[in-house]
Symmetry: C2
């Protein structure tokens, strides 16, 4: 029996009801304690920290009424199970990457980054103004999820290789630890993608069980020590031109949230989208210089690798869009914006940055 029914049935006086009723503010801002399961270990303060910042912004703005406790990967469920646990309702929310779940449906990949997709700023434009948040949520709903971008890494590096890659021929049979959907594309060029958890990559690289491994970028990669055993560091990570992190919430739980909290969650996630990118852009340059001092050899991927990868990506998209309507709808939206976005970038942003990079090379900055 609920309290209101109890009061009615016992005939309690109106004045008593008024005295007992919570003030209006408590109805719109109830006390809640939720759990957030992160896909990341605490050691990765950039991306794990993104989830903690979402929780902190929400806690502070509600005077502690909406509490979200963040758990590292493995504390509740393994990192790559985070969204599954949220969809099933065993945890209210998670901080993850949607593309970890591309094996269930490749449409999940579009929420994070796809090969030769958008860069970080373009991702924001497409999500917040191109309708992509709504498009993704039409799809997430079929998995009992609601999701919002909450952090971006920027363009990731292409990974650490024991030996140099001089052309596509060097990719034949190459055992490369890489995440999800990008591996599907790279396998068309002869790469053999390997799925290995973060903590085991170093040993596999050292022993030569694998030939190469990609992770994120200088700051995160430095912590895992890859430069000691695979000194050739390639770029760009064409499969992640601007990779999003996400806050995902169980759909029924989301719908129970009062509008005040729904709005705050969205605002906090958008703020964290800026915050995580800002942190990466501040800490990566310093890590880059430390890696260089430690003997890392930096290489761009050879032009034929880039061109062949682009072709392989387009073949992959043609295959998937032919059979997956949800993927096609969102992919087409991204592609329609992408061409215009990379046209516009050639004007003022590119020429400003190119001039400044030129001054940096001349040591004039």
């Amino acid at each position: 029996m609920d309290r209101r029914k109890f009061i009615r049935s016992t005939g309690a006086a109106t004045v008593a009801t008024a005295a007992l009723a919570a003030p209006a503010i408590a109805q719109s801002m109830p006390e809640l304690k939720w759990r957030m399961t992160s896909s990341f270990p605490k050691a990765l303060d950039t991306i794990y920290g993104g989830g903690e910042t979402v929780a902190r912004y929400i806690r502070e703005a509600t005077d502690g009424k909406f509490q979200i406790q963040v758990f590292a990967a493995g504390e509740i469920v393994p990192g790559l199970e985070a969204a599954n646990a949220v969809g099933s309702g065993s945890v209210e929310m998670c901080h993850t990457c949607s593309y970890y779940y591309w094996g269930k449906d490749p449409t999940f990949a579009l929420g994070t980054a796809v090969p030769f997709g958008l860069n970080s700023r373009q991702q924001n434009a497409w999500m917040y103004y191109g309708g992509a948040i709504d498009l993704m949520n039409e799809f997430y709903a079929t998995h009992n999820l609601v999701g919002f971008p909450a952090g971006n890494t920027g363009a990731q590096m292409g990974g650490w290789f024991r030996n140099e890659i001089k052309s596509v021929a060097d990719l034949q049979g190459l055992k490369f630890r890489m995440g999800g959907f990008g591996g599907k594309v790279f396998s068309k060029l002869g790469v053999v993608p390997q799925q290995i958890a973060g903590g085991e990559i170093y040993q596999a690289l050292e022993k030569g069980t694998i030939d190469a491994a990609e992770w994120v970028g200088p700051y995160d990669d430095e912590k895992l020590g890859f430069y000691k055993v695979a000194p050739n560091y390639y770029y760009p990570g064409w499969w992640e031109g601007g990779a999003y992190l996400h806050t995902m919430i169980n759909k029924a739980k989301w719908e129970e949230l009062p509008p005040v909290y729904q709005s705050l969650v969205k605002t906090a996630c958008q703020a964290v989208t800026a915050d995580v990118q800002a942190k990466y852009d501040y800490v990566n340059p310093q890590a880059l210089k430390r890696l260089a001092a430690a003997g890392t050899k930096f290489h761009p991927f050879p032009a034929d690798v880039m061109e062949a990868s682009f072709k392989a990506a387009n073949e992959t998209y043609a295959d998937i869009t032919a059979s997956n309507a949800a993927f096609k709808k969102i992919y087409d939206s991204m592609v329609a914006y992408r061409a215009d976005a990379f046209l516009w970038e050639q004007f003022t942003d590119y020429t400003f940055d190119a001039f400044m990079m030129g001054q940096q090379r001349k040591k004039a900055l």
Copy 2:
């Protein structure tokens, strides 16, 4: 007499005090009605809209308890007086650009953008992780202001010129409508900066009273119609590689805000930093194509103009830092990050974007 003193002096019973006291939530989240004076007209939905979005995020997350009413430029005070009105306490807050006030002290310019400074992502890195928000607020405090970034335009265009600019020689005596600090630098090359309000630029350009005018970028500039009378559209706007908008708050009013609202204001502003940039990045490509269809001639500034401007900027910085300690402290912080940031950008972000821009030029996207 305040209420507590009244209760003490009348000897009201403890129980009465308890009954009258507001519940804890109301103390941490009081009902507030503030005014925000914008530096922008409503017609500029990008930048004026940034202030409205700050207000909306705050209103929604407080269930309407913290209401901020936004006024367009001129409704309370002229656009370029916004921060002055806030500093003096006649309005609680504004949405503006700090560099509008560079005439009072050039240190204000560092909060928005300075010639050959940082791009949009780098600005965020420096502000949120490089300590620049705190550095700027040490300075803003001397003007009774507290300020937070709340929107970014990205690199702006260099403006509309009646005639082509083929070298530095063509800048001699050129009457150029341009904002603040950039004009100080450009004047070293013979440009004669003109201060003209937005609504009067078109007529001045048409009549030839001025030779050129800069505003923001394709989407905003298109509305003002400059392409009809000055068809040469130059880039990049080297004086604004990533120009911030700001929420500024009267310092005493800020200090009266409960911590819940202080945190929410900061979160909302950070979210709007992402939001305004996202909107520009979505609407500018479309406007660019419309302007091209209308006959706009796009030109990069000649190399000698860029190099001479860079040299003039550095001379200007040398002059100012020699005599302005506040400017020097913040400028040095920016410069220390800038060189590393433009080094790092040359790796994965630049090579990813360059490859994609190449595909765009080949019409392969």
